[in-house]
């Protein structure tokens, strides 16, 4: 069954309460990096701002917890607090139903819920939920997105700790199902360690045998790449010849390696300033139409913060952004929901099995 984009239902601005709503007001940034009192913070939903009576503008490229700046040219930009410049005009108001000229359109893609009964089992996501349909829908979605969207992956290091899942990722890249990658130093280090030594943290990625002095492997991998100057340079010189990072390089797929305080090395491409890393990630999340986050809490929550639940296509059409979280624990999978990334769908399983099944399922079609 082919995937079809769900219809977007724009708000009706001609009926109350929106027909009677005031225009939105703005106040200047009092000093660099500080929002004025009563600033409005963005959500993951489409938000409309009535700049002139009867004229509501939709935010593009939104995200969680940004503030909205009106440019001198009359455009609306979403910015982080720390990017605010003194004097910029920030939208005010915390009402979400037009009271202050802002409408948060949380029901844009929602289907009406079936009438509920007094009692039903299994209302929560859990490891015992049935996931066959999620795989099937993901096959359909990814087949669609390969041609029409932007599939952004968010990966924890466990994704490359196993030979078959590392191979599945490489195949997904060559088959066109990966348009961008967000990860940390560790994913790249262990992927490159496998390219050099066929180990991950000193353990063979297939046999799991601990190798003599294997605890040097990740450090040696980092040191060799630092010596080469960069991951890209290590590819160009033939030092690294396989793996996830190599496939990305071959296919010229953009990635961001964001630094963390756990990092050894780090690899040269790692952005050690986290705010700079967020900016680089945002350049990719701003293009994403589907996000697949696997085996990482840190990066999946970060991505969840940076990406809204909708995407405005070049022709103005509004479509949903799909966000999948694959993790072993209910706690991790629900954390995104608890933080408000309501559109996230959880699949509770091992990263390795997920990747192997997904790649095989996409190859059958």
């Amino acid at each position: 069954m082919a995937f079809v984009l769900p219809a977007y239902h724009p708000p009706n601005f001609t009926k109350p309460p929106l027909s009677g709503a005031p225009t939105v007001t703005f106040a200047p940034v009092p000093e660099k990096g500080v929002a004025p009192e009563n600033y409005h913070a963005t959500t993951i939903f489409p938000e409309y701002y009535q700049l002139q009576k009867g004229s509501w503008g939709l935010l593009k490229n939104s995200r969680m917890d940004g503030v909205v700046v009106l440019t001198p040219e009359g455009a609306l930009l979403v910015k982080e607090f720390h990017h605010l410049e003194q004097g910029e005009q920030v939208a005010l108001g915390r009402g979400e139903n037009g009271e202050e000229g802002i409408y948060v359109h949380s029901e844009a893609f929602r289907k009406p819920l079936p009438e509920s009964e007094k009692f039903a089992f299994r209302i929560h996501l859990s490891r015992e939920s049935a996931f066959s349909i999620d795989y099937d829908r993901l096959y359909e979605l990814m087949t669609y997105e390969r041609e029409n969207g932007f599939i952004l992956w968010v990966l924890g290091p466990a994704a490359v700790f196993d030979r078959d899942s590392r191979s599945a990722l490489v195949a997904l890249i060559y088959q066109g199902y990966v348009h961008g990658l967000l990860a940390g130093n560790a994913l790249a280090v262990h992927d490159i360690e496998a390219a050099f030594f066929q180990t991950a943290l000193g353990q063979e990625i297939y046999c799991k045998r601990p190798v003599h002095l294997g605890h040097y492997h990740h450090l040696d991998a980092i040191n060799r790449v630092r010596r080469a100057g960069s991951i890209a340079r290590a590819m160009e010189t033939g030092l690294i010849r396989d793996g996830v990072m190599h496939a990305l390089w071959q296919k010229q797929i953009p990635f961001v390696l964001a630094g963390s305080i756990r990092d050894d090395g780090p690899l040269p491409e790692v952005l050690t300033d986290v705010m700079q890393a967020q900016d680089a990630m945002r350049a990719l999340t701003g293009r994403a139409t589907t996000v697949i986050a696997v085996a990482t809490q840190l990066h999946s929550i970060a991505a969840g913060n940076l990406i809204p639940g909708y995407h405005v296509l070049p022709d103005g059409q509004v479509r949903p952004v799909y966000f999948y979280v694959v993790d072993m624990s209910e706690f991790a999978a629900e954390k995104l929901t608890n933080r408000g990334s309501l559109a996230a769908r959880g699949i509770l399983t091992n990263a390795q099995d997920f990747l192997v099944i997904l790649q095989r399922g996409l190859s059958r079609g």
Copy 2:
């Protein structure tokens, strides 16, 4: 690569300390169900008993925490405490190295460990372990066992909550990879609920839609089978036409449904007395050469208690019993190890993905 049974290394009874060991002594059961003081309790390892000087007999059909009875005919039987009859002769002694005529042969199949370093990463099993090799070895093992062994499955209800994993189980049964099943009432109830209503606890097993009045489905399934008289009768009369229980019936594969205090109904075949259920389970564990326990703590630990780490073939050859535990949590997977089922191998993943991957992998070969 074809699976090859590992060699069994029998103890050397001609060297000290075993060459100088005494014969084992016995004491009578003082009253029904009570062992004499200083009884010996069995382990999962091969155990040898020196009944006459120079003649050591190997226990067959052993298990954790049984006691050893010498029959009037001179045979050694392992029994549970509650099965002891007054006057039976019970083996005494807690030394494991022949001090009292008993030798616990814990190194029978063990390979020498590689020399360890002062430091190595990743020494514990975890969700981040690489599992490709475990799947590959399992394919080889099951291919061997299909012809030469007895594959006993231990299943929690989550195995049939999903359409694809239920189908995978059915395929495994028809393909000859299932020689026996241990489970509880819930597995059979939800499998039969799916046969009747295509739901599990009222939720469609593919679409996950909650069905109107679906919380009646498992009760209706139970009631219909109780009305039919038995699961088998419900098959014979065409009431149940698909699923795991149906496939077992078609292939005449033995199963035990052990009762628990959580059970609704229960289904007629459920053994509500747990000691009687243990006896029935033991009839199957005594034949098992490979056990695959999926998504159940209760039944996997019970099976772990009932099965030793070795099996004596009809020709007297001693071979290992393989025990796989598939679970989502390190806690559950390690619980078997913590209880002493040292030979258990853990695979940390979702039951559904495990079954789907396993069935596909076995079908490729």
Copy 3:
């Protein structure tokens, strides 16, 4: 702050739809242990049955998934399927709003929810929820229940694996906060192992040192009690002198030890038939006004099935039953909710810490 029972809001039978509802119909049990078609299954909520026009009777002593039998004397009894006798009259109908003379009163104690916003964080229970208030409310509740209610504990063996938590339990018993106990063989075995040997599964319960031949301790404990004839007899003869089971015996507090297929031994008091065990448990759940289930999935879910969300006091007053589930995993804590025990409150923590804090908190007051 003293605990006050929340008001019960009975349904209004004089208004539609209930004023126009028909009387409930019954059909005979077709054969022993089988319900007639279209039977009504009970919920955890107060349920009213209109036996004669204008006269609605409230179910007493209800539970999940029972069926309702009209006795020849005109009383309504809740029964399990397997207890049904041929010819008994069973209530029919699956409508819950009076359509068939049955009203399921799911809102009896519910407060109206506050108006929701388009977005809020932290809507799910998790390990990161704040639990101070739950402890404080529990202190108030238990202080009240000690005098006015029936506090039923449901315990997994981890509750006695630690010296301080075992002592806390003993103190709670002597202080009057324990009116009944549901557990399995393992809890009693490990508690008695501690009384005999100061170990649990061979490990000292304070120092955690593994003791030489300690893996015999639980078997020796079982064997000694079996030799004594019963746990009670082992107390009377002075064989067992401390611990949870000893305190229960001293205070003559009723308990049920329900058998499971994991059991060694078992101890003489263990009910090995699970349906018989359910009956015995039901005798206690029928009296319970507060349930505290700690570190056991098997027994907490079983208790959840056996106990309704309300209790009818001797004077006819209807009060809620409080159900606390203490566990380390969101999965386990939410399982009760997913099974419909909607009133269960989860506290995500270690059993030992919970018991120590609770006992200290109750002792301060």
Copy 4:
């Protein structure tokens, strides 16, 4: 029982193999940030370097995975790869037993293990381990360290999500049990949100009521502090009047807030460059004699990487560093062990209960 520092057993350099070991060799850094081939990487153990025949120097201020630089003055410094300057002399050799003049002293504090049996239960740490003794030892240790050591805390945000645990932390600070803190933006944000609004992520920290527009609270807290200029300034001006950060400020206790890509804001004191944050953390880990890491994987693993298993006191005495990891999951607690921080002790429980119990236990003494 008062805590006594365990004796340090220095290596015997006068016996083989150390008596015959060569001196260690060095090679220059080929370019900034790159180690020479065959560099030695440090471990968490005391390491000795034979600079001149018969003269072995002990590394001070070591950590995992650093390299050792010989200064022109003849001192040994541990450095990260990215801090290496061209031409610096780096110690070479991967042998750990003196083969290349380096001795890794992994047995310095280890007691001989008791002889093992063929079988024992409960060899792994789990949620079912007994923790009373860990609390008692921690009381003794912290009483000692308050006077004689440096207690470094590593906290995840869950530590301040609850009123009682936040109060317990504040009390621990005022009582002198906190000498330094490593955390992230979120801990400080939610602590300050509680100071301003008595909420955490918009939920009351005691009652758990979601507050109207509460999802603005953490952003408002950040914005107010950014407006004030810094956390310190917000204290000085009386804007923030209670909580963990306030207590640290009152007592002038050093802390590091390390940035991550999940951060909102961030607060002014947050170090957004992770390598700069590591440096700042290292200034505290270098002083730490006991580390208590609670409810954070990111920061506890980072701290584990930065801190060795021993500390050299000003008088040259070598003492162990104690490292406690408090978490809800075996996976997280064992991750430190799997990464080689062998000295880490896990306590599996809820952060809130741990803090409340610890603070009460220390106040009793």
